[in-house]
Symmetry: C2
Subunit: 392 residues, 2 copies
Amino acid sequence: MSVTHPRGFRAAGVTAGLKTSGKPDVALVINDGPARAAAAVFTTNRVQAAPVVWSRQAVSDGVAVAVVLNSGGANACTGPAGFADSHATAEHTAALLGISALDVVVASTGLIGERLPMDLLRAGITDAATQLTADGGPDAAVAIMTTDSVPKTVAIDRASGDGRPWSVGGMAKGAGMLAPGLATMLCVLTTDADAPAEVLDAALRAATAATFDRVDSDGCMSTNDTVTLLASGASGVVVDAAELTEAVAAACAQLARALVADAEGASHEIAVTVRGAATEAAAVAVARAVTRSNLFKAAVFGNDPNWGRVLASVGTVPVEVAAYDADALDVSINGVQVCRAGGVGADRSLVDLAGAREVLVDVNLHAGAASATVWTNDLTHDYVHENSAYSS
Amino acid sequence: MSVTHPRGFRAAGVTAGLKTSGKPDVALVINDGPARAAAAVFTTNRVQAAPVVWSRQAVSDGVAVAVVLNSGGANACTGPAGFADSHATAEHTAALLGISALDVVVASTGLIGERLPMDLLRAGITDAATQLTADGGPDAAVAIMTTDSVPKTVAIDRASGDGRPWSVGGMAKGAGMLAPGLATMLCVLTTDADAPAEVLDAALRAATAATFDRVDSDGCMSTNDTVTLLASGASGVVVDAAELTEAVAAACAQLARALVADAEGASHEIAVTVRGAATEAAAVAVARAVTRSNLFKAAVFGNDPNWGRVLASVGTVPVEVAAYDADALDVSINGVQVCRAGGVGADRSLVDLAGAREVLVDVNLHAGAASATVWTNDLTHDYVHENSAYSS
């Protein structure tokens, strides 16, 4: 499992002391090749953390050998000194591994607006470099957790046309501040397939657009989101863009689902599927409007199948974004059609949300053939508690 | 106070039994003239409640004599039968008052997706029509409350250049689902000034754009928002657009502030002022992004001056909407400059939110001379509780 599931990778997770809890907080992932192709996507937030600025540049040549990640501090809004810290992190890692600093991706997560304790971080990376193993992926996944209650890992196996296996592995963290582009998180994906950086880049962008970009736990976009894909080529299997996209998307979908399931304080996972849209973009826009309704999310927490709040959210989407007739809208919640043609449908008491962890909201616009699903969570007392008590 | 503060108006508030609580739930406001000019603005939600559809048409000729309002049911998402109910409400009111149904504005608030009990509503309106008095404004304000803890009324006095008094009065309800355009609510404004419907319309649009449209308690836009302005001309004072706009804006600002102060479950009122913007629209867009951050709002509930979450929200605004350099951003919270030039400023512990009901967030974009303020509330346990337990 995790990033060491594919051949050609080693990883480690250690405790550097960045977290006051004393839990693991530094992870290192290295690609032993023979290929060193890489791609990455980053937050679209205009306030970008120093490691994002560093890593965007580092991966721009399509090559990365190592990813160093820390929890316990985001190194965001830390100015030129913070950027120097990310640079120094890469230099230190590179020196230990005998590679170029420009082949080191740096990722950080934790409190915004505080400098990282660089002495502790350097010592932690030194420690991690001595512990790199081919089964270190699960340790690395633990070391990047913040408010996550469980580590999130994935392993996907595929075979070439002539029966030779190749795989994709991955780890992710994120339990709040989940909103597109990207769902807020750090994620490292690995594959032992052989593909050039351009193919990795295309596959990663397509995969994240259909998965992480459709997770929206609380509408808040982070400053640090980083998803990196490294390819070792160690399987000897050359894959094309379609094959790689399928497998990477499968890995991203599993991780995205795990992020939603572990979202801070949630008691329900809510999938909003919009069908009958003129375009997929229209379906996404309508679904996203519903997933951002605090009122609907609070109703779900109260086990109330409040379809009126669904319609009120759908109605906020501008007509130029999604065409539909408000008097044609249908809404089903967990299979019960509570709204028919914009009006009252089946008795809402037929929907039992108290016994359901998953809430499936189905909106039919009757305006076309496209559809899309966006995931979110309910809005709970625990969400408020975690995010009022935890500085991040 | 309230809608009967200006001369030429009578009002009443009665209990029709629409609310299970047995509290007042039907209000009637009538303009005794001599003028009968009117204007109204409505929710921009594409899912529009039946009374909104009715009233938009009724006021389109610039004339209205009466406004009939009910709490205890929104009459939204009720299909053609619901529209017939709004029509019948207007007809019944008109017959009692000896006027045309097309001069009756209808407004409803309460649960979406249920028909109104028309027998009870008709009887309530009949009752209200017998109780109309020149000091009935406060009773009317009580009858439109839903989760409001206090009625919201306003009275503004002005004088003409030659010293003759004129005034604006008003009432509003709304304590959740407050988001622009408009803040979710019902509002009736009255004036004894003499102005044609075109002037009323221009004044009302300008006033609401700068006040109710800048209140965003929970980012959720309602299906029923209606703000009506009636002018009786009873003062004999002819006002121009600028004079009327100033007074109506002052009335709206007081009511908007009262809505924020009474927002469901809130423990802090948050004013986000963005200055140094290239345009007012850019300032509003940035301020709105901050007021919609659940993470920042939860932090304020926890008395945490979490400026990192402010910056993360500012960063979500597209560059084509608001130009700024992320490394130039300054943020002050209640006067303490916690973020300077995109990085760490004064010690956040200097900000004491526990003792403050008002939280003033000041963001300087350093990109121009325009500014704007948007109001919101913190995200609290009580918000979650009220909105998970109350079907609306």
